[in-house]
Symmetry: C2
Subunit: 301 residues, 2 copies
DNA sequence: AACCGTAATTTGTCTAGGACAAAACAAGCA
DNA sequence: TGCTTGTTTTGTCCTAGACAAATTACGGTT
């Protein structure tokens, strides 16, 4: 059933590797080597697309394409275990409970997962739920995905269900708008929203007025939105997979189109890999966000 | 403050026009004509980026780039009014109430909008809320965006807030899994999710078991997910802006990676512009979805 | 006047290879 | 160990040509 072939645009869509990169790899490394159709255009077999996605996954982990392509096939299990940082920090004692939640996702048991999470939310309260459940769980799902024990669609399922929970929880918060107005969004190409939601939950709990604009806002539009909403803070999220090279330039451009008095926060695991910048405040953890909020309030008292 | 310039990648991100197209237009039409930096690379001023986005907007409406670029500036108000179909069908008598909701968004009054919508949901019930409020409202927001009276960020705000409402409503539905298992998602590059949520709400009301996977699933992953979840139906959404040319090919490829016995539904305003296909069932309205569900149930009784 | 098939045009995407800067790595030295 | 400098790796950008698919224009027919 997998006799379908992909043209270069389809491969770009499905792997996230640009056409330029695909052609360059073919020239440099001799992989992938698609066949050609009658017009001399590349036809990638599904098998190569799969391999490419696997390579992309490992690249997002910090590996380099030259090495990956050289390795034949045992790369899968071999390289997947070693990681840049030993991230598995001790997550208190309920590590086991988190594992249970992961198992429910892995079994595709939507209803049971939702129920378990609802219970947890009720038991812990929103703040601890975000910090002690959602954050580490997301971390672990990311790891599982990286090491191949979670499929892409399982990660999507987790993300979708968890998004719902958080949004629902946020909606039920009493809106006591005393704090700053915070505009939450992400730049185009950046579609991960979970981190943004976690921050929103924490900020809303602290009484900040959050304006969620979803993801993928063109830069000039972010500027307009900040002005229209008279935002005090513009909070952006960059995920692990976002090309770090682009971030400093983006922040600089954005700083130029934002009102002077609006603060710019850049958060998410994507910003841990870039250096300090004068254009934005870097938020690498959830606690950072709370600290930054407190700091803002001190300065505007 | 708008002295920032954009490189070609940034323009692609912000306008949705590919690098290839941007270079080709420069060659053919003489617009845009960016200046060059020290390395001979293109630097687009913000003003040209804005114009490009405007052109893109009109193109999605059915206009052709050659004409648009020839027109100097009065194109804005002039071309924007004429549309392919006179879509403003009569939406019963509460047209005025919808206009009120739109006004709240336009005024960026998050709290008031949420409250008004909550009330409406409580009053109408979920089914009528989806069909008589959310659907026409989304339609109108789309029109407002097309004719320029809604900014991008206002459309995003509407989308984000409405997504939350729908998800919240869906979450509170009793899960009586008697119907088919329906996997809801969209292909990569397609990020609009509101239509999917509306369908999910209606199907869930009818007792179908919905598995929401969010947007942007690679084709091969959709196949894996369908298998893993033993989905009876895979429902895809294509928005207005999705390039119609690609849809038939996508459906055909997808059909090849899906299990034989899984039905494939393709819905959204993006499919109204393509012809019939043997690969998928085309769903152009919300009623279509309900009809298709009933039909599926008859065939699998 | 409405319809239909063919020709011309418009438009997007693909191809090729070359160039270069930024990042990652390696090596040498304090 | 830590820092600086050179080398390799890697992605992105560039030009310029070709072609197919979609769209429009045109001429002939009913």
């Amino acid at each position: 059933m997998n006799t379908a072939t992909f043209n270069i645009a389809a491969v770009e869509r499905d792997t996230g590797l640009s056409k330029d990169v695909l052609r360059m790899w073919e020239r440099r490394y001799g992989f992938p080597v698609p066949s050609r159709d009658n017009n001399g255009e590349r036809c990638y077999p599904a098998e190569q697309v799969d391999r490419l996605r696997q390579i992309k996954r490992l690249m997002d982990l910090g590996h380099r394409p030259g090495k990956l392509i050289a390795t034949p096939a045992e790369e899968l299990g071999a390289l997947t275990s070693r990681r840049s940082k030993p991230v598995t920090m001790d997550i208190s004692a309920d590590d086991g409970e988190l594992a249970e939640l992961l198992t429910l996702i892995k079994q595709h048991d939507v209803a049971a997962y939702q129920q378990a999470m609802q219970q947890r939310l009720a038991r812990q309260g929103l703040q601890r739920f975000v910090q002690d459940t959602v954050a580490p769980l997301t971390q672990q799902v990311g790891e599982k995905w990286e090491d191949g024990s979670f499929e892409v669609f399982e990660e999507h399922l987790y993300t979708e269900l968890t998004k719902r929970l958080l949004r629902q929880a946020i909606a039920t918060l009493p809106g006591g708008p005393r704090g700053p107005r915070v505009l939450l969004t992400s730049v185009p190409e950046e579609q991960h929203v979970l981190g943004l939601l976690m921050v929103e939950a924490l900020l809303a709990l602290e009484g900040a007025e959050c304006i969620p604009l979803g993801t993928q806002m063109p830069l000039l539009e972010i500027g307009r939105a900040a002005e229209a909403h008279q935002a005090d803070i513009v909070a952006l999220s960059f995920s692990q997979a976002f090309p770090p090279r682009q971030i400093p330039g983006l922040l600089q451009q954005l700083r130029q189109v934002l009102p002077e008095n609006a603060a710019l926060w850049a958060g998410g695991s994507g910003v841990t890999r870039i250096g300090k910048t004068g254009d934005a405040e870097l938020i690498t953890t959830l606690d950072d966000a709370l600290r930054a909020l407190a700091s803002w309030r001190r300065q505007h008292a």
